[in-house]
């Protein structure tokens, strides 16, 4: 176990290093214009531009520039090119919103995914299963920003059942307002995953139900309910739980950018989207790295959980 942790930690650091270098290179090797010129504005003199170039270390070599940026990231002094705000402060404001969106949606899609998948498997082949299958497939075929926009328009703007986007802090509007503003974003983000999870669980259950050990369990004379919960469902859920961890990581790491933008939640994803629109490299670097950290950490957590749930898996 200790060896596993050490190996994983080393691997994680190396992967994150590679991610940071790659992201840095995307903006410094692909020609995208001179950031100093952009920052100086239209009516600037060459001297002013030169000044900015010095100040922001744009005149140094690429490795030096990279080191300078990483130093700023780790000291929390990273500053946006476009509005000179501190990137970490911006992220710190957006992160709770992204988490609120991601955690709520993850709970919603896991719960509904399991319920619908189980129901579908139990009713396999019947009309209700077919209807759910079609709905699930439609769910995984819809772009989240499109669904979100339509929900916002019809349920928010036209019917006025829900607020038209925006995020309300619990400290400002209380838990009721907070929930009220998040219901649509949660639903929009969860739809795709509900479709995916219910399909996977359904097929896992239908595979497992024909497994020999389920027959053994039935031959023991235990109740059908116990056969289903202790043997079929428990074994079918193992892959779902691991998938859940990975998907949650991806949602936090930028997967929610579309939902955040459509509902104007001002989370980290939206911060990223707005920064990239201005070619503002520091926030893009920081959010990408943070996202990679989430993915890598959750991958490791998932591996450990997997090994706990399934004794055949060994951590290596």
């Amino acid at each position: 176990m200790a060896r596993f942790v050490v190996r994983r930690l080393v691997g994680m650091v190396l992967v994150l290093f590679a991610v940071s270098v790659l992201t840095f290179l995307i903006f410094n090797v692909i020609p995208n214009g001179d950031p100093a010129v952009r920052m100086a504005g239209k009516n600037s003199t060459p001297a002013q531009i030169e000044q900015i170039r010095k100040e922001w270390h744009f005149d140094e070599s690429l490795p030096q520039q990279y080191l300078f940026m990483m130093k700023q990231i780790f000291t929390g002094k990273l500053v946006s090119y476009s509005d000179q705000t501190n990137v970490w402060e911006q992220i710190r404001m957006g992160l709770p919103r992204t988490f609120a969106l991601g955690i709520g949606a993850a709970i919603l899609w896991m719960t509904l995914g399991i319920l619908l998948g189980l129901y579908s498997a139990v009713k396999a082949g019947r009309i209700s299963d077919r209807v759910l299958t079609v709905l699930a497939l439609i769910g995984i075929s819809m772009p989240v920003f499109w669904v979100g926009a339509l929900m916002n328009y019809y349920l928010g703007y036209k019917l006025e059942w829900f607020p038209n986007g925006g995020y309300v802090e619990i400290s400002e509007g209380g838990i009721g307002e907070w929930l009220y503003h998040l219901i649509l974003p949660w639903t929009a983000l969860a739809i795709l995953f509900i479709g995916v999870y219910s399909r996977i669980l359904r097929s896992n259950i239908l595979d497992t139900i024909n497994d020999d050990y389920v027959r053994t369990a039935r031959a023991k004379g235990i109740s059908e309910r116990r056969v289903m919960t202790r043997h079929v469902l428990r074994n079918s859920l193992i892959p779902i739980v691991t998938l859940w961890g990975l998907d949650f990581g991806l949602v936090i790491a930028g997967g929610a950018v579309l939902t955040e933008s459509v509902f104007d939640l001002q989370g980290v994803g939206q911060y990223f989207a707005e920064a990239i629109g201005r070619l503002d490299v520091p926030p893009v670097m920081a959010v990408t790295l943070l996202g990679a950290v989430f993915i890598v950490v959750l991958n490791t957590v998932v591996d450990i959980v997997y090994a706990v749930l399934d004794p055949r898996i060994r951590l290596g």
């Binding site: 050990y213 023991k220 428990r234 074994n235």
Partner: protein, 381 residues
Amino acid sequence: MSEPILEIDHLQVEFRTDEGVVHAVDDVSLTLAAGEVLAIVGESGSGKTVTAMSLLGLNRSPNATFRGSARYRGTQLLTASEDELRAIRGAEMAMIFQDPMTSLNPVQRIGDQIAEQILAHEKLTKAEVRDRVVELMDRVGIPRAAERARAYPHEFSGGMRQRVMIALALSCSPSVLIADEPTTALDVTIQAQILERLKELKDETGTAIILVTHDLGVVADIADRIAVMYGGRIVEEGTVDEIFYDPQHPYTWGLLGSITRVDRDRGERLPSIAGLPPSLLAPPEGCHFRARCPHEFERCGQGPPLEDRGAGHPDRCWLTVEQKRARRVVDDGEIGLAAKVAVEASPEGLVDRRETPPGAPSRVAGDAGAAEDARVAEEDR
């Protein structure tokens, strides 16, 4: 022989599939007395496993139809409710399955899997259950049982897993034990050990056993009676001696020619019956074995009933006892089925040598010598 505890009467099982209706079991009648060992022998697809599973209702599905009757001590198993069946499963009738590698839940501890069955039928404290589990595992020959009960299936070898399955089956002292190909998935040496253990346990507990297998070799030492199944039907039924020394059905002759031998590698075993079993989707008219039988004649187009034709036990072949005794191939005192080619070459139908050499058995698996070898072999490891 005592009163039968299990009576199967004209059992018919059909499955509806996309391709059509599969007639898996066709008019099977069998009885089992307390403490008796009945072997059901046949190739895969002969309906033997379906028969066994039908007794416990393990193959019930909306696509399955069961007709006839199967009574266990007065309970009609075919129509019993799930609750009634549940009370019988594991407690009265227990089953050992073919593949020990897949028959245990991979993510549950061995001990818990056995305990689950005990707790389903008996009110015991945790400690009592734990003691029972360890005792059972000990009894089937699992070393360090107390420690191994906490292990997971993947930490066991195939033979050890089958011992676990036996321990599981015996955990509530059932009256009937159904063993479905209990040794097929195992190495030959392990097969002998498992059979030996089953036999000892039968003698200790007096449990009646239905042993389902494709291999006549494994039943010789343990069974009292043998029912040979082919294409969903019983084609011959008799005591071990009757089947081994006076087999009446040509299919039985073929099976006798393909007995597993402990002293040969698997690779050396030759399939001695040419051709494939009939499709159960559209079973042939008349005798199901007709297409593969070297002795087929016109009358075989009508199904021969299962009756005693003078040999002292029933079979499903139109040939007279005298014809049968003359036609079955006897080679070095052993019986086999002549290959079809050979018969065509000799129109009189009397064949005295085999064209295809099936592995002729000199002794069968499970005999004392083989088991001894195996035990020594294991101790060496």
